[in-house]
Symmetry: C2
Subunit: 354 residues, 2 copies
Amino acid sequence: LLADLALVGFGNVGRRFAGLIEERRGRLAADFDLTLRICGIATRRHGSAWDAGGLDVARAAREVEAGRALTSAAGSADLIAELSRSDAPLRIVVETTTLDIAAGQPAIDHVRAAIDAGCHVVTANKGPVAFAYDELRDRAGAAGVSFLFEGAVMDGIPIFNLVREALPLVDVIGFRGVVNATTNHILSALEDGEAFAPALARMQAAGIAEADASLDLDGWDAAAKTAALANVLMGARMTPHDVDRIGIDEGSGPRAREAVAQGNRLRLVASASRGPDGRVRGLVRPTVLPGGDLLAGLTGQANALVLQTDLLGEIAIGQLGGSLTQTAYALVSDIVTIRTRQPAPAGARARRTL
Amino acid sequence: LLADLALVGFGNVGRRFAGLIEERRGRLAADFDLTLRICGIATRRHGSAWDAGGLDVARAAREVEAGRALTSAAGSADLIAELSRSDAPLRIVVETTTLDIAAGQPAIDHVRAAIDAGCHVVTANKGPVAFAYDELRDRAGAAGVSFLFEGAVMDGIPIFNLVREALPLVDVIGFRGVVNATTNHILSALEDGEAFAPALARMQAAGIAEADASLDLDGWDAAAKTAALANVLMGARMTPHDVDRIGIDEGSGPRAREAVAQGNRLRLVASASRGPDGRVRGLVRPTVLPGGDLLAGLTGQANALVLQTDLLGEIAIGQLGGSLTQTAYALVSDIVTIRTRQPAPAGARARRTL
């Protein structure tokens, strides 16, 4: 089955995604009878490109990395219109723009445009699920297309797939997790005696933290993930601005070292629970955890989430390392989900019957 | 959709399964358009019963718990033959007999009989996957029925579902985990200064350990789980007898306390890896872990597995408590998987589109 793709956003995640589907081309065909063809690329600063017969993506990546603009000047809306005219059996918009913490834009508009054009849409951007999950889910449902976002919260950890496919009949009644890599890296460094400013500078030099790290340090990234998880897993209707949020700062060093001295660990914990009034409350807080807590042992890039469930008690899932490949993989796994939702020819997926 | 069930085995797990599907009857109908009807029960010591119109299962449970025999004397083979004559759209054998570590029997024969009779089969018994996974998978595939076993290894943790449904294109290249509750309970107690014999006696009194605890203590249970995981996730063709196995004993107390004194923890670790010759090697060992290791923090009933993957690095999944309900749930989730593999009417599963 052929799927034509338009990439909206072509930064680190978008380019890694393009590389990954090339690397796994054989497996996609063998395991899922799926061929992916990238026909469009839209960037914020480097123009955009469209070729209904498939773009030379490696060349486009080299152009963008060299700071040159792509051929055509059309924006994302034009690309989506072009994609909607493809006669491939699957038409999928791959949205990888960066998070806007004010209102989740323009990612939400990209998702709406894709759905309204009858295209499936997968995104690694937290904005759409953190700000507008209910609307976009219903809009996609009405249009008969899929809106998926596995990469938005926990890189390669298939948290939404896990709940959707592997935990039928189970209600998530709360969660707590360590979900932001930059702050977790810095807290690990502070525990080792490093000062705040040099630890941050080192993370920025290593490309782990952004030049403007305030989204991470002030807890906004964790708050957006909290809202996304609460909206999807618990039926909350919140935005990141509804999350009660405290980040980390210069004062975190002494607290982190004091915690270690007492056998505990300081971690930036994101959590949600349902109050007696039925409303879901989201919280981001530097939290002192007992040394034996599953979340206490997470250092550096590791992240994990503990789901509180009605039927199974607490279930934990985490990854020991997160990176671009994990986020790009999440987009690929969403595309596989779209594929497996199509009526399958006899014999397909035989390898995965377990 | 109606599914007729025959329960082969009606011990603690089988009876909890029957209770759970009663408790979740509304959700099964609402979320999956699925109605379950238990028509047959076969026990080892208390006879068996069949009613094509559906048994009074609560009454059967009371009979068995009071030590009385069920009405009919037919064995499991007769039940499966009866089930195969049902005209319900789904016919499912629910196998919950206990593990036989010599050869996985008679569970393997039960699974074979179900498949050969054209019935789906779900089991919480490790034997079939630990001793005969390849044969049973191929047999089920040829017969066009499902053979599922989510409850065999990690109670409510959906480890097989996770890999099957949420990790497409990913290869598992190894794993390590804490998978046996009895030994983990005892090691936790030993760390707290309790002696081996009283700790074991306390576990037996609490119903956590069997009267004959040797399967747990000698590492056989962990070895069976290692073989099951390696066979399914890594394509190994091993049995529990191929696993290099050391259990715990009186000498574990001093080692556990010495580990704690040095900031480490002693845990019974089950693992598998592929050697240079391509063969998968399984290992069960009391292992000293650094205090920060994800597996080190597991106490009591908690268990967890770290998967080593080719694409995503290490992924960890665990549960903080395991019990009968979790194992029974795994059987229900397997039945839901069988249901969702059927062509779905339009609109079904809408609640879970995420």
